[in-house]
């Protein structure tokens, strides 16, 4: 455990020293400022035009989900490009050889690196998500139903990608591992869309394939958790009554929170992939 904490602290220090944290924070502030300004303008124009408050709330909630998607995308990319070189770059530079010649396990290196990056990603998700929610509330008075849960799902989605990127990092060069993660993130997102469309057309095999891929990489399922936590119940009820199950084909809508079995699977998935990363590095000649 001591070795894991040493490596985790080193990893957090690395992201700070390399100005990754500073850049992410600065971009977050700029993004929140711009999107909040946009929402404030829309709200002001709508109010001046006599739009009912309920419609303003609906509009703000939808824009907020779009902004959350932007952060989810940035987080996913950050996770992929922090995780993919986490081991690969250390092996390439010889840093890993010097460290692993010390009395630490290869598992310590993997889990320590992972833990440090989880801290960075969770902190970024919390900072960006809560800052955005607070700013939107300030200019519109709207607060989503479960803001903290939304942030947790946002971070969990990124942790899924981070863990997969670290598995890739034990065997592949950083660029290859990062590219694979980005592609899989996109495929997972598309699988969610196809699952909804498949249900509308009652296309059983399509739904089964799309659902299977969502379980193979649970990032999109967790993203739906973020959406559901940000949606007013009015939106959920209205969408379902209007489009039924096909409403889920909209990648910015969730008709229900992720089931408990899916959440348990997501946690197990992260553990299993992390163990695979450890096994992969242990079996590798350095």
């Amino acid at each position: 455990m001591r070795a894991i904490l040493i490596i985790a602290r080193l990893t957090v220090a690395e992201t700070a020293r390399r100005r990754i944290l500073a850049v992410l924070f600065a971009l977050t502030v700029v993004s929140v400022a711009l999107t909040t300004w946009g929402i404030e303008r829309l709200v002001t124009l709508a109010r001046d035009g006599g739009t009912p408050d309920i419609e303003i709330v609906l509009g703000v909630s939808q824009v907020q989900i779009l902004v959350a998607f932007m952060f989810s995308f940035v987080l996913a990319m950050t996770a992929a490009f922090l995780g993919a070189p986490a081991i690969a770059a250390d092996l390439e530079s010889g840093v890993a050889h010097a460290i692993l010649a010390r009395p630490i396990r290869r598992a310590d290196l993997i889990v320590g690196r992972w833990l440090g990056l989880v801290v960075v990603i969770a902190a970024y998700a919390a900072a960006s998500g809560l800052l955005d929610i607070a700013a939107v509330r300030l200019v519109s008075g709207y607060t989503p139903p479960q803001p903290l849960l939304a942030v947790v799902f946002l971070a969990a989605q990124a942790v899924v990608l981070l863990t997969f990127a670290m598995l890739m990092s034990t065997r592949l060069p950083a660029i290859a591992g990062g590219a694979i993660c980005v592609v899989l993130f996109g495929l997972g997102w598309m699988a969610g869309v196809f699952a909804g469309i498949g249900r509308f057309f009652d296309a059983g095999p399509l739904v089964a394939a799309a659902e299977a891929s969502r379980w193979l990489l649970p990032s999109d399922g967790l993203w739906r958790g973020t959406i559901y936590s940000l949606e007013p119940q009015l939106v959920v009820a209205g969408a379902i009554s209007g489009a039924g199950e096909a409403a889920d084909a909209n990648p910015f809508f969730a008709s229900a929170p992720p089931p408990a079995t899916f959440l348990a699977w997501s946690v197990a998935w992260i553990v299993v992939v992390l163990v695979l990363a450890v096994v992969s590095l242990r079996r590798r000649d350095l």
Binding site: I6, L10, A101, R102, D285
Partner: protein, 312 residues
């Protein structure tokens, strides 16, 4: 805890082998390194030296043979606590300062208990390698030679029982190489055993007690350098030496004369060379030149490796 028996071999390998796919990186490495010695591990590029070091440290798995390091199986964590290692191709975290690299390795060395090396030990290690005035600078700003000095400081931190140096002088200038020789000797005086992996033969010849020459993954020759290089042949250009004077030199070795003024004495030990010259002068001879004609390690290396090599 390491199971190293007191007085037992620090490194003991028996037929150690490593195969990567269809390539044999190491075929049959059998050698022993005794406590307190500086052991030179020599070979051309691609001979299997770095592979052997990685096996000894548990960074790669052997595909054949058996070995112990500090009395423990390869890769044993307790044994690794007692090993200092300078990798061949390495770059420490460029965003860390030199002192922080040493602090990190001091903490990693003590993960299983015990206190990390104190600040004074870190100061001492930086001072030993001449980096005291750059302790606060980021490693990314260091030249290759400075990084190698830092690597030496990391390897020697905390007085490990075994120090494995993989090409420690490859990026250093002549002054730096002399410093490394002094550092290696000090490490031995502090009780360490040193495995010096190098292809810089003059460095090895100056500092090592014993060597093993390896190529194509096999040990081609090993032993004390003096034994491997054979007897010293002392050649002296001398005039006016009476025949009785020649007889008096027989106690130093086998004496031969040629048609000119040169005489050759084979088997002279280095310490006796001044006495040989004094004996000639006392006998009435006039010494014009003295040449110690022993072969060099480089000649031996070229001979041994050249006999087996069939490189393209």
């Amino acid at each position: 805890m390491s199971a190293a028996a007191p007085g037992g071999a620090i490194i003991d390998t028996r037929g150690l082998a490593k195969r990567y796919g269809r390539t044999d990186a190491l075929v049959d490495l059998t050698l022993g390194v005794e406590p307190g010695e500086i052991f030179g591990f020599l070979g051309p590029n691609g001979a299997g030296k770095t592979t052997a070091v990685k096996l000894l440290l548990g960074l790669a798995r052997a595909t054949g043979g058996d070995a112990t390091v500090l009395g423990a199986p390869l890769g044993d964590r307790a044994a690794r606590r007692e090993i200092g290692y300078l990798p061949e191709l390495f770059r420490y975290q460029p965003w860390l300062r030199a002192r922080e690299v040493l602090e990190l390795h001091a903490r990693l060395r003590a993960v299983d208990g015990g206190a990390p090396a104190p600040a004074a030990a870190i100061d001492g290690a930086l001072d030993d390698v001449g980096l005291s005035d750059r302790a606060g600078d980021p490693v990314g700003s260091f030249s290759k030679g400075m990084q190698q000095r830092l690597g030496l400081a990391v390897a020697l931190l905390g007085n490990p029982r075994l120090v494995i140096l993989d090409e420690p002088t490859s990026a250093l200038d002549p002054v730096g190489r002399a410093d490394v020789r002094a550092i290696v000797r000090r490490a031995r005086e502090a009780g360490a055993t040193v495995l010096l992996n190098s292809h810089l033969l003059t460095e090895v010849e100056r500092v090592c007690d014993r060597v093993a020459i390896v190529d194509h993954g096999r040990v081609l020759a090993s032993g004390r350098i003096d034994d491997l290089l054979g007897d010293t042949q002392l050649r002296v250009r001398v005039t006016d030496l009476p025949a009785t004077g020649l007889d008096g030199l027989a106690r130093f070795g086998a004496v031969e004369t040629d048609d000119g003024d040169w005489l050759t004495i084979t088997g002279v030990i280095d310490e006796d060379i001044p006495d040989v010259v004094a004996a000639i002068v006392l006998a009435g001879g006039r010494v014009h030149a003295v040449d110690t004609g022993r072969g060099t390690l480089e000649e031996l290396f070229m001979h041994v490796v050249g006999d087996t090599t069939d490189r393209p």
